[in-house]
Amino acid sequence: MDYYKMSAAEAAGALQNKEVTSQELTASVLRRIGEVEEEIQGFITLLDENETLLEAEKIDKARASGESLSLLAGVPMALKDNLCTRGIPTTCASKILRKYRPPYDAHVVEKLKETGTVLVGKANLDEFAMGSSTENSAYYTTRNPWDTTRVPGGSSGGSAALVAAGEVFFALGSDTGGSVRQPASLCGVVGLKPTYGLVSRYGLIAFASSLDQIGPLTRDIRDCALVMDVIAGHDPRDSTSVPREKENYTDYLGRDVKGLKVALPRDYFEEGINAEVKKVVMEAVRKCSGLGMEIEEVSMPYTSCALPAYYLVATAEASSNLARYDGVQYGYRAAEAKNLLSLYKKTRNEGFGPEVKRRIMLGTYSLSSGYYDAYYLQSLKARTLIREDFQKVFENYDFIVTPTSPTVAFKAGEKTDDPLTMYLSDICTITANLAGVPAISIPCGFVDGMPVGLQVLGRPFDEGRIFQFCYALESLLGVRNQLPEVNVKRGG
């Protein structure tokens, strides 16, 4: 049976009822990987199949012996390849970390291991999570399962494509400016960027530390809540991790949403938003009134300065975070450097790809003496205005709804020559990172056969009610856990 088509919750339920074993689930996704992975290219590292099956067998044995197991125990999944996994290559899709095997697991990896989920492999991304299409991967571009001539989005494009193609039940990604939500939108899956501080980044290879968050990519809302139940929570090893009581997110599913208020910021429906995408999103929004929700237009006037502010903040932080790659302690080292300084310079120039260099350069420039006040400081002030935009709206509304991406998935190669056009793919998603608020993308329909995502933003730490709302909306829209027919080259 094609178990891979189940959602993670359905698979977990079947495991608990002993209708299926973890080995059968794992064998099913491995078969699926065998059929479609050559076309999708979602993995950078696919673990040895026998070892993966052995992990599944361990869970099956524990279950058979009556051990009490977590709900997701035995469910196969993938991790974005910027999450450290002990002894397993963690490349960030960069040449500079080609064979790097971390000596420790990221916090979220520890959590998933404790839960007993089965790691299948590490997913492709744009190098160091910088990009919106996976085309900046030093290895290869992942293809969109809905149309393999198109990109899956990015930077967590591998994670999104693997979930959409049925190669894993869920995956983790990271989101600095939309890197979970935009690929989720383009691949027709659910993707959440949690509130800044909710999920520990210990072991997430840093890109822009004031913006980075780890989040799940899943087949539906219930799966997303289930994964958040595992990975959310305080961890002293990430000093930005907020100490607060742990919530049970699945408890929110099925609660009434009547009377909750939705804000529609007109600023997110203007600049560069494809008319068809807008139409599909608006149809979905109209259905919210059927749920007894109140919907009103609002204005968030500083939205248009979000992208420039983002590219200054993110690149400044990246230039600092990526200073550690110098060919000394780990990773790539250039050959034949005659002194330490030339070792640094050659290693970094040979090890980093063009987009990463561009961003390191822009960040270094905006932090350099003489430009700091003109650029970096201005961007931090603009960030305050963007946060205040959100605070004002959340005084009167529970949620903000926007499109996730201005367009459906674009063709591979379409935007690679023009960095600025590529940056504009993130226009709807970056504000959540700047403001630190939680935001989710859920599939809400199709344009020309390609999935469209709807974004819901909420108050800080209001993930529970975001799930409550999206769960109700998901059942109304009827587009949950839809898997595309991937064109299988060799006849399947």
Binding site: T240, D326, R333, N339, K345, L420, A435
Partner: protein, 100 residues
């Protein structure tokens, strides 16, 4: 305002990047396009606005100032990942040498 190739070369040296001539060329061009877009920020009235460095208003998070012994056992694994090491240390080319 526009950025010259010379400035790009200076920034590259700060960033420890040994850019190739064609990279200097393309980065100079792209810099100007991106910086032109970023000029939008200049249109804002930002006087009196406090900068946001972090969205969580967490105070400094301290721990006891004591070295943590754990992790020492990982030293062999850590050094195995190093491009070059000797006697339990990272090995690098000469440090004290005049740059030509």
């Amino acid at each position: 305002m526009s950025v010259s190739r010379k400035e790009v070369e200076y920034v590259a040296s700060l960033a420890r990047l040994d850019l190739l001539p064609e990279e200097k060329e393309s980065i100079t061009q792209q810099f100007n396009v991106i910086l032109d877009y970023i000029q939008r920020l200049k249109e804002l009235n930002l006087s009196g606005v406090e900068p946001t460095t972090h969205v969580q208003q967490l105070k400094n998070v301290f721990r006891e100032d004591r070295s943590e012994e754990k992790g020492r056992e990982l030293l062999p694994e850590v050094l195995e990942e190093a491009p070059d090491s000797a006697r339990g240390l990272f090995k690098v080319p000469p440090v004290i040498e005049e740059e030509s």
